[in-house]
């Protein structure tokens, strides 16, 4: 089975997010980058499926040479080879089209994305990719088994879940549940050593265009200082929730 895991290179979850003074982009100064948390679940799932069914796990990302550290990490965790779409993505449509172009030339049985990337929180790429390739699509996928070329999946709904199945190839957008937190794989020494000799191929873009653009970024408004209410005076909290905030 050929599995492709689409990985996004994002600021670590503990990062303080600042923007450049012109407001045009993220200020990367002092920011650590990691594999997008949603994609980590997908990568571990891909490795488990490979162990069960045999095959190859490839990883891909779209970005300049800075993102190669993230691909190397994925190789160290156990992916067999890596691809970098050489450029700077502008929106989800452009990203999905570049990925689709690559996938059409390389054919995979299973394509695993994350539900969204924690930087721009777009959530556009997986569905757009599925439509572009005309393949079945499961969003918010929290369970995946492959039997005889059929993918049996579980997707999260609002406050519940639902089963769904489709023939391979299929595109899923995964999250926690695809594998459990404790199953997540991390690089070990041997993995880090072997990653150095694995293939990381740079792919030229096909020239897809973006359909939206960022104009500016700003910080969210600051909260007022907290009002501490004595635990002996809970009625005061109820009064404030009713009269001041009007939420009860």
């Amino acid at each position: 089975m050929k599995i492709l895991v689409c990985i996004s290179h994002v600021p670590d979850t503990t990062s303080k997010i600042k923007f450049t003074s012109d407001g045009h982009s993220l200020d990367k100064d002092g920011v650590q980058f990691v594999i997008n948390p949603y994609d980590e679940f997908g990568l571990t799932k891909a490795l488990q499926l490979k162990e069960e069914h045999g095959g190859v796990v490839s990883v891909i990302t779209f970005g300049d040479s800075d993102v190669e550290q993230t691909l190397r990490k994925a190789l160290a965790i156990g992916a067999d080879d890596a691809y970098r779409l050489d450029g700077v993505p502008n929106d989800g449509i452009q990203t999905s089209q570049e990925l689709a172009f690559f996938i059409k030339e390389n054919e995979f049985d299973l394509i695993i994305c994350g539900q969204e990337s924690i930087d721009y929180n777009g959530g556009i790429v997986p569905g757009a990719l599925a439509a572009n390739l005309n393949l079945p699509f499961i969003n918010a996928c929290i369970g995946l088994e492959i039997n005889d070329n059929v993918a049996n999946t579980v997707r999260e709904t609002d406050g519940g879940k639902e089963t769904a199945s489709a023939n391979l190839p299929i595109i899923i957008a995964g999250k926690k549940g695809l594998v459990e937190e404790k199953e997540l794989r991390i690089p070990n020494m041997r993995g880090i050593m072997t990653a150095r000799s694995k293939t990381l191929k740079v792919i030229e873009l096909s020239g897809a265009k973006s359909l939206s653009e960022s104009i500016s970024f700003s910080a969210p408004p600051e909260k007022k200082a907290v009002k501490i209410i004595s635990s002996e005076n809970i009625e005061e909290l109820v009064r404030l929730l009713n009269e001041e905030s009007k939420v009860i």
Binding site: T13, G127, A130, A131, G160, A164, S165, S216, V226, K227
Partner: protein, 316 residues
């Protein structure tokens, strides 16, 4: 035209469906066009209720009962083409999030998700959206004729518009899905999290799953959804569907009550857009107090039952 996906759940409109219709109707007035709401499958709610929130026309699709991203996205995209759709409004629910990317590719249109306000301009469409897990606000501009907006449930609200006697049109369409959906099951309480107006959430400070009674009782009197921090769902005290935060569900209710949760940056990323935040924690140094509107420093096991009682007496 402005096209709105009028989502149903268990054959009824979700509360947030009215918010999406209202949003679409307000945009259509700004542009000087009409709002079309599209409803799929059997529906026990009154279609006319969509008119009361501003829909000029309601297209009721029969023949497609179960949600499937391709069949729904195809129908919505075809309607957008037929009516020269300028905007398509989709709620950021589980189903809505499954549609937005698929439609953007079917229509070669830009898709802007996580939108928290009405557009700032309409020529071109410029709109603010939440990014970097609520740590930033992005102003985004569409470059295509048609733009798909994914709006964050509960973030815009509903304003009353003139009641409209909508035109209702029924269409029969055969499904063109790619996946076969099976059973569906609900896990969390009565109120699904993404659309809950009030949420009661608890963390590791609760010490164990057997102590959740006081949390669900408080949620019940407030008619609130229940949520939890990530470690609580990781160790299986509560279902994954209750995990809120940067890597869980992102919510923005009117009221968020956090009990025995420290307020780690990843947790705040998913809840900081709540309108009013109440923190109950026995550690005065807990970082969550910095992000709260109201705080009570105290033991949850003492404070929470008394809060429940105080709300009950207030409600009488």
């Amino acid at each position: 035209m402005v096209i709105i996906y009028a989502e149903t759940w268990n054959k009824k409109f979700k509360k947030t469906t009215f918010e999406a219709v209202n949003y679409g109707a307000r945009c259509s007035k700004e542009i000087g066009t009409e709002a079309i709401a599209v409803v799929f499958g059997e529906c026990d709610s009154h279609l006319a209720d969509l008119g009361n929130h501003g829909a000029d026309r309601i297209i009721h699709i029969q023949g497609i009962e179960q949600f499937e991203p391709f069949s729904f996205a195809t129908v919505l995209s075809d309607i957008a083409k037929e009516f020269n759709g300028k905007l398509i409004i989709v709620n950021g629910t589980a189903n809505g999030k499954s549609l937005i990317g698929v439609m953007s590719s079917l229509l070669s249109s830009s898709a802007i998700s996580n939108v928290t306000e009405l557009p700032v301009n309409y020529e071109p469409i410029n709109v603010h959206r939440s990014a970097f897990s609520s740590k930033g606000i992005e102003k985004c501009s569409s470059k295509s004729n048609c733009t798909i907006l994914g709006i964050v449930p509960n973030s815009i609200g509903i304003i009353s518009l003139e009641d409209i006697e909508s035109i209702i049109e029924v269409r029969n369409i055969i499904s063109k899905g790619k996946t076969i959906f099976g059973e569906s099951q609900n896990e969390s309480g009565n109120v699904p999290l993404p659309e809950a107006e009030r949420v009661v959430s608890a963390g590791r400070g609760m010490k164990g799953p057997e102590n959740w009674g006081i949390i669900t009782e408080l949620a019940e009197v407030l008619n609130a959804g229940t949520a939890c921090s990530k470690p609580v769902s990781d160790i299986g005290w509560r279902p994954h569907s209750e995990h809120v935060g940067q890597t869980g569900i992102q919510i923005n209710p009117q009221l968020y009550i956090a009990i025995g949760i420290s307020g780690a940056i990843q947790h705040l990323a998913g809840v900081s857009r709540s309108k009013t935040i109440v923190v109950i924690n026995n550690d005065p140094e807990a970082p969550f107090f910095k992000a709260a509107d109201y705080g009570i420093i105290g033991d949850a096991f003492d404070v929470v039952p008394r809060l429940t009682e105080a709300i009950k007496s207030f409600q009488k």
